[in-house]
């Protein structure tokens, strides 16, 4: 018997709800043409939640066709910007109405604490959708005065049919980050979720239809990167691809996009430095530094995972960091009230992190805390602290994507900036100091797309997010994200320049 298009599920917190499992194309859930499916796991118990249909090339073709037709249909392409804004606001209202369901799904599918999923991730999606709804009718071209013989103006038009490939670390939130600016600017979308966490975006499909978006404007498909993702990135009727994930996959996407020179934005990895000067507020530096690496189980692209502490406060910082971690980083299953750190998302991630921990031990770093699995079931890892880490150690260079922090000391500002910048990545950075000049000076010199002064990972939907170097191309969030989904057409009206 083949998989139905929706299943009745009961979540670990007792919530009963209907989970769509089809591919969301043209406002309907359909089966994959070849009937392929994939399983998604509850990482706290290593149990299967459900199967979902997995898109392959033929399904991607169908989704692209639907998105293209929707893009050319006047009921999306010619509606008042105000109407686009209303649809997006309505979607935000529906996400707010179903906060408990969406929070439950993400906690179950990803493993993050329920309170974070429902009150932080879902909350940010609501605000972000409303924020971009507010931009929909404020997208201005310009008029440019070059003299009376010409009326020159620019039209800011949508890019067209956009493929969006999102990761598993913030399933619903990453969908929100992608959909917001793309919809506000009038594009149509094929969103491919991560195979590890397909569920919350499928539920969102119901809300997109309920909000009143015309069929084909947003299409949501579950699938594997190598099949569905590759098909989308290389499709010659897709005008743009946006990807968030590893740098390695980002590079593959970039190559695939070359087939029709499609517009590309990438949000890839990071090994972001966190610089703690001796004149910092140490207590706050410890708390933010902890959040900067231990939040979301360390599964954060912008995690400030390399901490450089000025030598005069080095040991004191490590001691406080260890204590703070012990108090705050309660490892438990996602639906427990005390949970700060849930499981890692999959066995594959779990194994990878364990391997880095072993490498760290064997390379000679000082293991200050953690380093072991927690319990025997579920992909739980102890929050792990390495100190006396040298810049050439693997654990200092490579992105671990787990609750593992590396700490080392520095002597001078000039030295630490050089060391912070000696990475192929450049996503974020944190600087802790109370000195005005130092703060702004270091912020200007560090190679990063985002710098937090006296905080870490303190993001906001209105502030641009993205990296330099191999951490990505382009920016998300804020009004900067709109540029990624817009193309500029210059129109010259000749008023009297006769030959």
């Amino acid at each position: 018997m083949s998989l139905p298009l929706q299943v009745e599920l009961t979540a670990p917190n007792g919530l009963k709800y209907t989970q769509p499992v089809g591919l969301f194309i043209n406002n309907e859930f359909v089966k994959a043409k070849n009937g392929g499916t994939l399983e998604t796991i509850y990482p706290a118990e290593e149990s299967v939640i459900t199967s979902v249909y997995a898109a392959e090339k033929e399904d991607v073709d169908a989704a692209v066709e639907a998105a293209r037709a929707a893009y050319e249909n006047p009921n999306w392409s010619s509606i008042d910007p105000y109407e686009r804004s209303r649809l997006m606001s309505k979607l935000a209202d529906l996400v707010e109405r179903d906060r408990h369901i969406l929070g439950t799904i993400d906690a179950w599918d990803n493993g993050k604490p329920y309170s974070v999923a429902a009150n932080e991730d879902v909350e940010e999606v609501i605000r972000l959708l409303r924020y971009y709804a507010g931009w929909a009718d404020k997208l201005y071209g310009k008029t440019i005065d070059v003299g009376p013989q010409k009326l020159a103006y620019t039209l800011h038009q949508p890019v067209g049919v956009c493929g969006q490939i999102i990761p598993w670390n913030y399933p619903l939130l990453m969908a929100g980050w992608k959909l917001g600016p793309a919809l506000a600017t009038g594009n149509t979308i094929i969103l491919k979720t991560a195979e590890q966490t397909p569920l919350s975006a499928l539920y969102l499909g119901n809300l997109i239809k309920e909000a009143g978006f015309p069929p084909g404007v947003v299409n949501i498909i579950s699938g594997y990167g190598k099949t569905a993702g590759a098909a989308l990135a290389s499709h010659d009727d897709v005008d743009k691809i946006a990807f968030t994930g590893s740098t390695m996959t980002g590079s593959i996407i970039m190559k695939a996009a070359a087939v029709n020179l499609k517009n590309i934005t990438l949000e890839t990895g990071g090994k972001s430095p966190n610089i703690v000067f001796a004149d910092a507020d140490i207590d706050q530096a410890v708390k933010w530094s902890h959040f900067g690496i231990m939040g979301n189980m360390g599964q954060v692209c912008s995690a400030t995972s390399r901490i450089y502490v000025e030598s005069s406060i080095y040991e004191d910082f490590i001691k406080r960091f260890k204590e703070h971690t012990k108090t705050l980083s309660v490892v438990d299953h996602p639906f427990s009230e005390t949970c700060y750190q849930g499981p890692q998302v999959t066995k594959q991630q779990f194994d990878k992190i364990q391997q880095y921990i072993e490498t760290g031990k064997s390379e000679g770093a000082r293991l200050v805390a953690g380093g072991e699995r927690v319990g025997e079931k579920g992909f739980f890892i102890e929050p792990t602290i390495f100190a006396d880490v040298k810049d050439d150690m693997t654990i200092s260079k490579e992105e671990i994507f787990g609750p593992v922090v590396v700490i080392s000391s520095f002597e001078t500002e000039k030295e630490v900036i050089k060391r912070a910048n000696s990475s192929t990545y450049g996503l974020a950075a944190s600087v802790f100091t109370e000195n005005l000049k130092k703060a702004h000076r270091v912020a200007a010199k560090v190679h990063a797309g985002m710098v937090w002064i006296n905080s870490s990972n303190d993001s906001h939907y209105a502030i641009p997010f993205g990296g330099v170097k191999q951490s990505g191309i382009g920016r998300e969030l804020g009004d900067y994200a709109l540029q990624a989904y817009t193309q500029v057409k210059a129109v010259h009206v000749n008023l009297g320049n006769d030959l």
């Binding site: 606001s89 924020y131 507010g134 404020k138 200007a444 209105a462 008023l495």
Partner: protein, 497 residues
Amino acid sequence: MSLTQKIELPTVTYEQPLGLFINNEFVKGEKGQTIDVINPATEEVITKVHEATKEDVDRAVKVARETYNKVWKDTTANERGRLLFKLADLIERDLLILASIESLDNGKSISMAKGDVAAVAGCIRYYAGWADKIHGKVVETDAHKFNYTKIEPIGVVGQIIPWNFPLLMFAWKIGPALATGNTVVLKTAEQTPLSALYAAKLVKEAGFPAGVLNVLSGYGKTAGQAIAEHMDIDKIAFTGSTGVGREILKASANSNLKKVTLELGGKSPNVVFADADIEAAIDWANFGVFFNHGQTCCAGTRIFVQETIYDKFIETFKAKAEKNAVGDPFHDKTFQGPQVSKVQFDRIMGYIDQGKECGAKLVCGGGRKGDKGYFIEPTIFADCKADMTIMKEEIFGPVAAIAKFKDIDDLVHMANDTSYGLAAGVHTKDLKTAITVADKLKAGTVWINQYNALHHALPFGGYKESGIGRELGKAALANYTQVKTVSINLEGHPSGW
């Protein structure tokens, strides 16, 4: 006197607040005075509202200042936007009630009033969306400095609105002012105080903190003057006649130099070229002058028609105007209701008499319609000359003045020959004509092949004596913000010192 009254209308029965809305409460005026509210379709008194005098203005400003300092200044932009979105939802929920109040109080037809209220919700949503998008800049001057600008609210703003679009004018004012983080003391027109008071109830229901928005019914000479002269109001925005606009500017100069924006009168030209789509141009000319009973600051009241189509235009326009349905505001088919008050009625009839005596040709209308309610027939004068009173002064009623023109140069000269400069219309099929004439007209808005097509996203305001500043669009935000430059020295000593 009570603070509310139950009012029964053909469309709804509802509770009308009557008090002054200060600190999220409806209260009586300190002096206990009241204002009669008249139904212009029947000339009967609908109700009385409490009147704000100088003492009440002082009270409201005090509350607005304290709320600004203690609460609103530190409210996040996201929260301000959220409250405005909520207010728009509530206005939409109570659309029929608000539209009915407008028809009752102002006399406009119920269908026009519904259009107004829908535009009110749209305008407030538009500004709600701006709240968290007000960006300063970072400006590089040299390597040792970090310079940024911060766009801040002004503080406590006074707003005085007119009677021609009571609730819409309310929205145009509070939208940008609240989105940018100011607190407000708003005085309605004494002729039309009712809809803003009902909206104030919704402001409280939406969850705005007490004191953010205060709504006062009152007279210009007392409450309005008190606002214009107040030493603790940081900015005043006024929409109304040019004459009163001058007084407001003077009052600012004589008090604390509060920032002033003004939206005043107009005598806007509506130009029809021979190559226009004539049928459409006539429809737009009709709408341009007779919409809202001619009570529109941007009305196309001087219609210029190219000489080769002049006679035909007038004949067809006359036929169209004579078909405009004039009557009961609560009737679905009504296009034109009564003028808002006896004072306005008498004034317009005075201008019509002058028009009859000055040598212009009366094409149609020219009289009162019926004998109850301030109804005036749609009136057209042709063969008008620039020196006629009816071509120079703003009549603010259903009276069109038509003149002929030869070519573009002739037209531009005549159209710009006015101390006003609010709007203009141009009807033509030719690409170059449209753009070059739009370039040459001294008007804040030029409509091409349409008229009175206002939209909350498009800046609106006057050249010359039609006003100072622009409302609507992103431009309105500048009226309610001030720029602070912060320049941080990162190195270095003053050179040589």
